[in-house]
């Protein structure tokens, strides 16, 4: 799992082999993007909410030290045991020690990208602890021994027939059954049994309120709650950046989160955990794992504002066409591509290049992260540090040169169109990873400048009528 030798382009190549599948993936995600648009347009103050969310997160990042202390003090007063983990290893060791102390060898986990980032499951399984992911999508991914391909829709890259085959193999369903309702019912029954027999449950955290010391977990399936309320020991893992200052700020984020993610007005369950149940233990682990370092990078710190809605993935033309697994990082898509190089610049050097820089991600982001600007910034850093692959360096240098001068831009545009019209195979070859499995578009007859110059007079004429 750790040894990644293939880059995004190579992994995407495998994904795009099945054209029908890629078209389905592309269409399914675009449909979710459209649902997001419809939901957001029903809220007249949508843009003001995005701005408020962005400003609240700016405030959080600028005062994170004090908010963390305030949250810790309030959570502790509420009876939650707060732990601090510098990295993945320490986080995993804390979880293990909590379980070991109680002699617990089985854990049920709800969706948590952080524990995926930390490879908690592998760590625990090596030490004899059985872990079951209870979110249906993550459960399916676990059966298939694959990481999630999307932070909200973990198995969006799979067809129902593949899932049916997995259920047949692992859960004994009849061969060939692929009806989503039927498969969901089978998983429901199977996981009920898991919930009622596990003494320990782990959840992620969407928001943690400094003012009150409570934390909020959002799900649609109810799996986080089923695990948590039946457990003797409840553990929550959260990245440092999940803090919000005051409880009333939850209104802003909960209004934005589900609408941005799936077009729902709110997730079905928004659970506020403040104190352990009578007789229960509640632990919360605050995890740094590169976050404080990212906070110190002025060009990239805004990536810590992310509320993990997945909208930037759903809208991204590269993500939709290449699939989440081709990003070889827990958080995929545009946001993953600006978070990952902070953790390991060499290993993830290819990701900021997996973008057309069209800016659609930044336009839909509910907390207004300038994602595409950061992708561009990372490219500069990666090239400067000497991590870029040779083809990319050439491509980027050419692009930087082209964009830096209006005349060369005009000339390159003409040259590009000439190439497209006269020797299309020159771009449609294996040196250009973007155009595998794709027909190149016909070259247009003129550039925008030429079109504008030609049409401007006519437009003015038209205006006079």
């Amino acid at each position: 799992m750790e040894k990644i030798t293939k880059d995004h382009a190579a992994l995407a190549e495998a994904f795009i082999q099945n054209e029908e599948h890629v078209d389905w993936h592309d269409g399914a995600l675009w449909w979710i993007r459209q649902k997001r648009d419809i939901a957001s347009k029903k809220i007249p103050e949508w843009e003001a909410l995005r701005e408020a969310a962005s400003q609240i997160k700016n405030n959080v990042l600028s005062n994170l030290h004090d908010y963390l202390l305030q949250f810790e003090a309030n959570a502790t007063r509420n009876g939650i045991k707060v732990h601090w983990a510098a990295d993945a290893e320490e986080h995993n060791a804390i979880v293990y020690s909590i379980l070991k102390e109680k002699d617990i060898r089985q854990l049920v986990k709800s969706k948590s990208m952080l524990t995926e980032e930390c490879h908690l499951n592998e760590y625990l399984i090596e030490r004899g602890v059985d872990v079951i992911n209870s979110d249906l999508g993550e459960y399916i991914q676990q059966l298939d021994n694959e990481p999630p391909s999307h932070i909200v829709l973990p198995c969006i890259h799979k067809r129902k027939e593949e899932i049916g085959a997995l259920f047949h193999e692992h859960l004994g369903t009849e061969k060939g059954v692929s009806d989503p309702t039927l498969l969901t019912r089978v998983a429901r029954k199977h996981l009920r049994n898991v919930f009622v027999t596990r003494r320990a449950a782990l959840t992620g955290v969407n928001f943690a309120v400094a003012e009150t010391g409570e934390y909020v977990v959002c799900t649609n399936e109810g799996n986080a709650d089923m695990g948590a309320h039946l457990s003797d020991v409840q553990i929550a893992s959260m990245g440092l950046e999940k803090i919000v200052p005051q409880k009333k700020h939850l209104a802003v984020f909960l209004r934005l989160l589900a609408r941005s993610a799936t077009g729902q007005p709110i997730t079905i369950y928004s659970s506020h955990f403040k104190r352990p149940r009578e007789g229960q233990e509640m632990h919360l682990i605050l995890v740094d794992y590169g976050r404080s370092r990212q906070l110190g990078r002025p060009a990239f710190r805004d990536s810590l504002k992310c509320i993990r809605c997945g909208a930037c993935m759903n809208t991204c033309p590269v993500y939709r066409k290449s699939g989440g697994l081709s990003y070889h990082n827990t958080i995929s898509g545009p946001i993953g591509a600006i978070l990952a190089p902070n953790l390991d610049m060499k290993k993830h050097a290819d990701l900021p290049f997996a973008s057309t820089l069209c800016g659609s991600c930044s336009n839909v982001c509910p907390v207004k992260i300038n994602i595409h600007d950061q992708l561009y910034e990372w490219r500069q850093v990666i090239v400067r540090e000497g991590y870029a692959a040779n083809t990319k360096v050439f491509g980027m240098k050419a692009m930087a040169w082209t964009l830096s001068s209006p005349t060369s831009y005009a000339r390159m545009g003409k040259a590009g169109r000439w190439v497209l019209n006269n020797i299309p195979f020159a771009v449609n070859n294996k040196l250009n990873p973007w155009f595998k499995q794709r027909e190149m578009p016909d070259g247009r007859k003129g550039s925008f400048d030429e079109w504008y110059a030609k049409n401007n007079d006519q437009t003015e004429e038209a205006d006079e009528h």
Binding site: L64, H229, K274
Partner: protein, 203 residues
């Protein structure tokens, strides 16, 4: 090595200069149509709505819409003659056979269909999740327009656990096909009680 001290020191060193909090009190909605909006939204997310004039109507609607031969539990004294009252001390696992739980919301939010349930209203934390079907009584006057009004009313809140629940549990993880009833309740029904709270039961 003390990670807490190290992390806090790194955060302090790396955090940017102070930025102000925005004024979020500007978000207000004094819509007069909260009940009808609530009904529309809740229906659109797969929930079922009944308008009831009084508790008698609620009580009568339950056996007509649910399997009364199975276990039905409630926190509501008004329904205790017909249904089992929830024990707040029983082991939560003992509720795994519950067909229907009937509880009362403290608040409901028109814009998203969610009800606010602090744990005291649930009987036990597990109840609204473990039951096969969930029914929630909402006195009409507790419906507010948006989450901003809801949090303003909740304030600090005296609960160890509380949740917004906005519909039956669901998943679309398999090919984006919507399936109601993932791990929590398969259906969610609300009874909007039209009477004001101080009108006696028999009114």
């Amino acid at each position: 090595m003390n990670s807490r001290e190290n992390i806090l020191a790194d955060v302090l060193k790396n955090q940017p200069p102070a930025r102000p909090l925005p004024d979020t009190d500007v978000f207000k909605d004094d819509s007069q149509h909260v009940v009808s909006t609530y009904c529309d939204v809740f229906t659109s997310i797969g929930g079922q709505v009944f308008l009831a004039k009084n508790w008698c109507e609620v009580s009568a609607l339950i056996p007509r819409n649910f399997d009364a031969t199975k276990r039905i539990i409630t926190t509501l004294q008004e329904l205790s003659e017909s249904f089992e009252l929830i024990s707040t001390t029983a082991d939560p696992h003992t509720f795994n056979d519950v067909e229907l739980a009937v509880i009362e919301a403290e608040l409901a939010v028109a814009e998203n269909g969610a009800v606010w349930l602090p744990e005291q209203r649930m009987g036990q934390r597990i109840i609204p999740y473990i039951c096969q079907h969930l029914a929630v009584v909402i006195p009409a006057h507790v419906i507010v327009a948006t989450l901003h009004e809801a949090y303003a009313q909740i304030g600090e809140g005296n609960y160890g656990f509380g949740a917004f629940i906005g519909g039956p549990s669901k998943t679309a993880d398999i090919e984006q096909a919507l399936v109601l009833g993932a791990h929590g309740a398969i259906t969610m029904t609300v009874f909007i009680l039209e009477q004001s709270p101080d009108v006696p039961f028999a009114a």
